[in-house]
Symmetry: C2
Subunit: 103 residues, 2 copies
Amino acid sequence: MGNFQLCPKFEKGMQMLGKRWTGLIINQLLSGPQRFSEIKADLPISGKLLTERLKEMEEEELVTRKVYAEVPVRVEYELTEKGRALQPVMKEISKWAEEWVEV
Amino acid sequence: MGNFQLCPKFEKGMQMLGKRWTGLIINQLLSGPQRFSEIKADLPISGKLLTERLKEMEEEELVTRKVYAEVPVRVEYELTEKGRALQPVMKEISKWAEEWVEV
């Protein structure tokens, strides 16, 4: 099995991406940095859960949180290079899901 | 948000693929049909969990289970067309994970 060495990375990556909402948040941030309220407005997700998920994504270095010292303070979330590198993955999953997944 | 209509399909697909071992099982079956024992030999997974996961994947129409009336009986698992259609997804996730995921 040629990709055995890759297994732990692949498996860890799959679990990272497979968490509820993570894929949709990445998809949304691929269009550019967004404020918390903007992300929330487009997803049927509670503020509490979105906060939790964004924190995990920060720990996994998929997003960065930028705080602008304005009044009122502005906080934006942006994909890191690692996060942006997921664009081809997201594209292929979207194509597959659109063709094959029934809801 | 242009892909809003796609969201439920995308989200369901992500969750399907994000389950522990599912991606690795798909990756393995992309090389062709395999017996239960062959899949198990290549993955550090218990027989109980592999059985459970394959059953779910059958329900999700990602794999089919074929029973050959030989002595002893031979059982093989094979990707469906829906499962095989995941090849580009698996390829992109592998590339991304190899480059970006640390274990």
